[in-house]
Amino acid sequence: MAAAVSAASVWRQSLAQAALLLLRRPGVRGLARSGRISFYMTNYGEEGTHVGSAAALDSTDLVFGQYREAGVLMYRDYPLELFMAQCYGNMSDPGKGRQMPVHYGCKERHFVTISSPLATQIPQAVGAAYAAKRANANRIVICYFGEGAASEGDAHAGFNFAATLECPIIFFCRNNGYAISTPTYEQYRGDGIAARGPGYGIMSIRVDGNDVFAVYNATKEARRRAVAENQPFLIEAMTYRIGHHSTSDDSSAYRSVDEVNYWDKQDHPISRLRHYLVSHGWWDEDQEKTWRKQSRKMVMEAFAQAERKLKPNPNLLFSDVYQEMPAQLRKQQESLAQHLQTYGEHYPLDHFDK
């Protein structure tokens, strides 16, 4: 029964995420197309990797992501309001409107703010794991990245450092078949990412990323051993990027609709979990309909609210460069303020907090 309850809650998380991301489907992509959000990246098809791994961690384990791990943050109950706030860059955004959409971060939920450069998080995650080891914190670090980012030098650096410095870290590679338009055949010629681990002395495993329980089990065991043995683990989760790379991408330019449909219809992590739950009698069509409707409503409401809010005060353009504002930067801030006094009509001041 406990298993059923937890499976159902995992399922609900997945569905909630699916609902959020549902809104990015063709037909509702209008939100970005109409300029209300400048940009977005969906997570379609990879929900199993997010929820399966997140469920296997302690809530204080530090997460370093790449940009396609929103489900991990969602699993940790990050409110829809704040997801939206970051995408809209409004005054509720804890990131203070500084970055493009999907660059989430949350200190309380131990999710380090996303940055655009790929793989830079990998050696950073290793350093954080080293510090966690020294602090005897019984914490691990998990570091997510795609199979494309794994080609970066920073990935090599991170793996080697983790092994030689004996860090309690899980490297979680989402091998989703594409890095924008580049298929895996053009990304590497060896046996994927998992096969690289042993080259560094890292215990590695390849899992079916669309089997949420497989991902959960692998992550759970890796976590247990990382803490017990202070060594890194590499999990390569095989999955598929059903959506486009981003709203700036149209993947029909480089892959067939048939290929995408296969994964969408035949090997979707949410569908597989649903079938599992239904077959055990823990879920049914009515609950499905109700939950879909409910989550869609939640998402649309959060969107509407986020859209209505003002953007942060333009003074926030200047803060947090350093902990303290340097004198020269303060001068520049004053010069903008003065400039706006004369030329303010040419700037979208009405949309910004005063």
Partner: protein, 405 residues
Amino acid sequence: MELSSLLTRRRVGMAAAASTAGRLLRLGAVRAEGHCRRLRRAGLERGFLQPTSAGKDAAQKRHVAHFTFQPDRESQEHGQTQKMNLFQAVTSALDNSLAKDPTAVIFGEDVAFGGVFRCTVGLRDKYGKDRVFNTPLCEQGIVGFGIGIAVTGATAIAEIQFADYIFPAFDQIVNEAAKYRYRSGDLFNCGSLTIRSPWGCVGHGGLYHSQCPEAFFAHCPGIKVVIPRSPFQAKGLLLSCIEDKNPCIFFEPKILYRAAVEQVPVEPYTIPLSQAEVIQEGSDITLVAWGTQVHVIREVALMAREKLGVSCEIIDLRTIIPWDVDTVCKSVIKTGRLLISHEAPLTGGFASEISSTVQEECFLNLEAPISRVCGYDTPFPHIFEPFYIPDKWKCYDALRKMINY
């Protein structure tokens, strides 16, 4: 330490960089002599292998350093002092840091045995191998790893073996470290990261053991770049960098590691960042430099006084970014003339930033165009170093022209 690791192509000769340039050249001279004797015995006296200057003095004149280190007066304010050279002052600062802050760790290539410049000697034994440790040979990894440590709030002191090798870490420094706090809306930061790196000309370093890359980082809001001129300054500034809540790069003039000796307090103390120091007051011209070059312009000031009766105000900039605009401008408003000198190449060097700002702020006070005496726009040459560096004669000549403008 294995011989093979000493002789890796990139590092050959650099374990000896801690020696004076003169000692190295004497060694070279002996080898040349022995080589010639062997050739004569082999009957190859007239062959092309015999150097034409064999046995003559001209080719083996001892190369004198282009500066004389001038110690500052001993500080009375920070308790008991001890004679230290620059690398010992660095060790002392690191020792103080690790003693005071249990989260502090030091890492990089070869730091465990004491470092190629002896800056970390004794620290691993004293504080343990989990706190002072070698990393694999990978600068982007060193800095990335250091950022990660700092993100958790622990103190990370990373060493990049030569500033010339900092470039693989450029992305981690510029795109990550510098922007961590800003991009996260201050949810996360890596302020407890300090990167230390040997910097500057050393007499024989050539392209890849002599560079001064501060200008590349000056263009990067979010980090601080600090360069000391002496052991006393080095310890205080390094401690400030380590304590500073922003990621800092601390460049250590390698030519001063042994050559600079003065009394340095044993206990920790800090010297403020972003504060230039007027180390000599004057009325006719302002001279600005940092690191080793401060000692060059000190001598230039003496020459100016003796030969031209000119009174120089000398400023050690100390922090490159954020830099102390007010101190420099205040001085130029007084003197009306500014000469800036650095080893790094002229174009895009940090003197251009200072020059541009000063002409904006002090235009009507200027009696002459601002002068920059810098390295040429070439990679740092090996055999031509004496011609490349902005030595006291070039600075003196530029000063003379400014006075006569």
